[in-house]
């Protein structure tokens, strides 16, 4: 049935292979939707293949999308500011000189290929898409049948992949409409419902073929009226929050985390920084932060322990070729983690420059997706808070994250003498699937060593 319906559609599609569809591209494995913030080309503009045609915003980052073909941007189907699923057809390019007709527009606005299944939506839904509502996917036979029977596709729940509506789904709806929504209930159930003013269509029947029995009405009456309880403030999740929510639970449930903590004495590093800072500021006009030193030390440490730069991919462990250290940046919308590229090969000044630029653009919402997705290890610092230590959730698909708490003055015994030292607790979370405890402990211990001996560590810089 399914194949048949799709076959008949595919056969129909071959009729007029005229225009080229411009689709919202896949922008990363975790990206589900995107918003076109700017059409660089306007309707009627000539475009060259490879030319920037529109700019899309995804997860607070913007990406430029190139034209898939040369010709005329004949039609813009998704206007600026509307969020649509990836692979949605957003525009049509016709060949130069070819007269554009509305008929040439595939009656379509929806994912043009998902799992190699081709789907089309009608123009009726185009307006819905413009309102930012999810597009309804249905095979043409289903559309035709729905039209003939005056049924709205939005009232039908599709049984196909991703809710694709088949003809049989429309048939089900037609059959249901033929039997007007007569509630089937026993006499005693009806009488009780009438007396207690229970809307029977809200009662779930437990009898034969879901017939509503008296006990169902009684159960309905007993139900605490949870639906009428005030919900408090309802906050719809923003795109960023949705992505964070999904990625965090994905990380927590797929990667078994183990955590390690150690104290690092930061006196030498703080002293080292105060010594080099004035000179660096003068020469490069840049303030190198403690974080920059930590990022550099982490990158150098990763060179000694490449497994901490790995990602799980099916049954394989991929050691990533670049060491890009992500920096967790708290934003009002939620946490984002732009990554400093090639932190292993970059000097402190370069790291500091990258950091300042990334943080600034993060605050302006001008990060690119690439900057946010390239990280291979993350550093998350709460040093400015009164927090001694914390456990961090891995930023998937990464396998390690470093957490840094505040620096405190502590009494330490050294050579029989009590001395005061500035100490920070550093924590490491790793994906235990690929990193064993001993390896993680070794990594953290070596990092501590590096941080406590800055002149050795940063000498080569």
């Amino acid at each position: 049935m399914i194949e048949k319906a799709l076959d008949s559609y595919n056969a129909g599609e071959e009729k007029e292979p005229v225009a080229t569809e411009v689709v919202l591209p896949m922008l990363g494995i975790t990206v589900e939707k995107g918003k076109i913030v700017e059409w660089v080309k306007k309707e009627g503009d000539p475009v060259e293949k490879g030319e920037i045609i529109f700019i899309v915003e995804v997860e607070k980052a913007t990406t430029e999308v190139e034209s898939p073909a040369s010709g005329i941007l004949a039609k813009i189907l998704v206007p600026e500011g509307v969020e649509v699923p990836v692979l949605t057809v957003v525009g049509i390019i016709t060949e130069p000189g070819e007269k554009f007709s509305e008929d040439a527009v595939p009656q379509a606005q929806s994912p043009s290929s998902v799992d190699s299944v081709t789907m089309v939506t009608s123009q009726e839904n185009a307006s819905m898409a413009a309102d930012g509502i999810d597009i309804i996917k249905a095979v043409p036979a289903a559309r035709r049948m729905a039209r003939e029977h005056d049924i709205h596709l939005r009232d039908i729940s599709g049984t196909g992949p991703e809710g694709l509506i088949f003809a049989r789904d429309v048939e089900t709806m037609i059959a249901r409409k033929a039997r007007p929504s007569e509630v089937r209930a026993s006499t005693l159930a009806r009488r009780l419902a009438e007396k207690e003013r229970v809307p029977l269509d809200e009662v779930t029947g437990s009898g034969v073929r879901d017939r509503i029995m008296r006990q169902d009405v009684q159960a309905f009456l007993k139900e605490p009226e949870t639906t009428e309880m005030p919900l408090g403030t309802v906050i719809p999740m923003s795109t960023v929050r949705r992505v964070i929510a999904r990625r965090m639970s994905e990380s927590a449930f797929t990667a078994p985390h183990i955590y390690f903590f150690t104290d690092a004495c930061l006196d030498p590093l703080l002293d080292f920084r105060s010594v080099v800072l004035p000179d660096l500021e003068k020469r490069f006009d840049i303030r190198v932060s403690i974080n920059d030193f930590v990022i550099k030390a982490v990158a150098l440490n990763i060179m000694d322990f490449p497994i901490l730069n790995a990602q799980v991919n099916g049954d394989e462990i991929h050691i990533m070729p670049e060491v890009n250290v992500g920096l967790a940046v708290a934003m009002p919308e939620g946490l984002i983690v732009p990554a400093i590229r090639n932190a292993d090969r970059s000097g402190l000044i370069n790291i500091a420059r990258q950091r300042i630029d990334l943080v600034q653009r993060a605050r302006q919402g001008k990060l690119t997706l690439e900057e946010m997705e390239r990280g291979t290890f993350t550093v998350s610092s709460l040093a400015q808070y009164d927090i001694t230590h914390f456990t961090a959730i891995l930023n998937p698909p990464q396998s390690g994250i470093l957490s840094i708490g505040k620096t405190d003055e502590k009494l330490v015994m050294e050579k029989g003498q009590v001395t005061v030292k500035r100490v920070a607790q550093i924590g490491l979370s790793v994906d235990h699937r690929i990193i064993d405890g001993a390896m993680a402990a070794d990594f953290l211990q070596n990092l501590k060593w590096k941080l406590e001996r800055p002149s050795s560590t940063f000498l080569t810089v």
Partner: protein, 463 residues
Amino acid sequence: MYDLAIIGGGPGGYVAAIRGAQHGLKVLLVEKDALGGTCLNRGCIPTKCFIYDTRLLETAKTSQLLTGIEALSVDLNKMVARKRRTVKTLVSGIEAIMKSHKIDVARGLGELASPGRIRVHPDDGPAKMYEARHVILATGSRPLMLPFIKVDGHLIQTTDEALDSEHFPDKIVIIGGGVIGIEMASIYLNLGSDVTIIELLPDILSTEDKEIRRSMQSLLGKRGARVHLKAKAREARIKGKDVEVSFEDHAGKMVALRANRLLVATGRAPVLDGIQADKLSLEMDGQFVKVNSRLETSLPGVYAIGDLVGGQMLAHKASAEAEVVVANILGGNREVKPNLVPRCIWGITEIGTIGLTEEEAKARGRSIRVGRFPFTNSGSAQAMGNNNGFVKIIGDAETGEIMGVHILGEHATDLIGEAVTAMTMEAAVEDLAETIKPHPTLSETMREAAMDWNGLAIHSLKK
């Protein structure tokens, strides 16, 4: 390893076996005797054979139309032979159904060794251990013995012997005025025996509606049966070819009766052979196995149904529990509602009832209305020539809920089926009144009683 093992192949056990097999379970049924249990071999079916055969004689003998009736008698050998044939046919029918479902039947006493393990002790040969994920105990019941009366099987019998006996007594004393006592009394009365019933309680059929009890007692009286209520049996002594029964009557006076036969029909006790509750730490409820509404015992994966768990000791209750328990084993959450289990009695006339009696309904503090219709007003009953009977419907005055239906008279056991359906589907009394009934049939009486509930019976005098 079986999915389901059942100890006891009566109307509880074999129904559970079939249901389980229908749902793809690998089923073992353990039976120490014949499939069909008490119902088929020593209860429901044998009594009904005798009831219908002896009723034929009784009807003929009391006929105003037939001539030559004085010479009529029943060939008792043939009557017992017909019963045996009927039972055999039905038992082999069940065996065939078992086979068709590929249900393994193990012959022998089934012992619950532990949850999931059953040891079967055949009459010949060594015991064998079976394993099953789920076990249903359905061992049923056997006649309850009185400690001071020794059943010899000839002069002093229980139904087990009486229903396979080719000798019928001229004079019989029956201890027990419950369903079994009344049905057996009816068989002997039909055969022309002199019948005396000794009942401990203040009434026969004590759980039934008062009008039903009164009518049955009056009919028994008309047929010459003597019924001693609040009477305590004390002793039974065999005296030659007779038995002497001593009892204390309602006034506390000792009475001695001499008869050719004594039938002990004082109820039934659960069969716990092979179920050592103490050893297994199986929780009991008095003499019965304790179960929750899902029919689960206190042991994991062990369920119990039928007479073994008490309640109404009826074949169809056991069967209903069998279906429910298999549904629960398969992940459902069902239960048998006792209120929807009908009760049938084949006395000198039939009784079919379901739900609450009028007294029980009142005791619940519900505002009730009663609809009645006598068989005397039924064209069908009149044409049949037997107008002893009535339909009584008890309904909630406010909601119309059918709380109980009580029918006495010809075909009452069949007629009650309509009330069972109506109550199960939660029809109101008015629903029964809205039907169109074929004429002339006894089924019209149900509709008339339902209309009478609203004071609108057609074939009744204006009230």
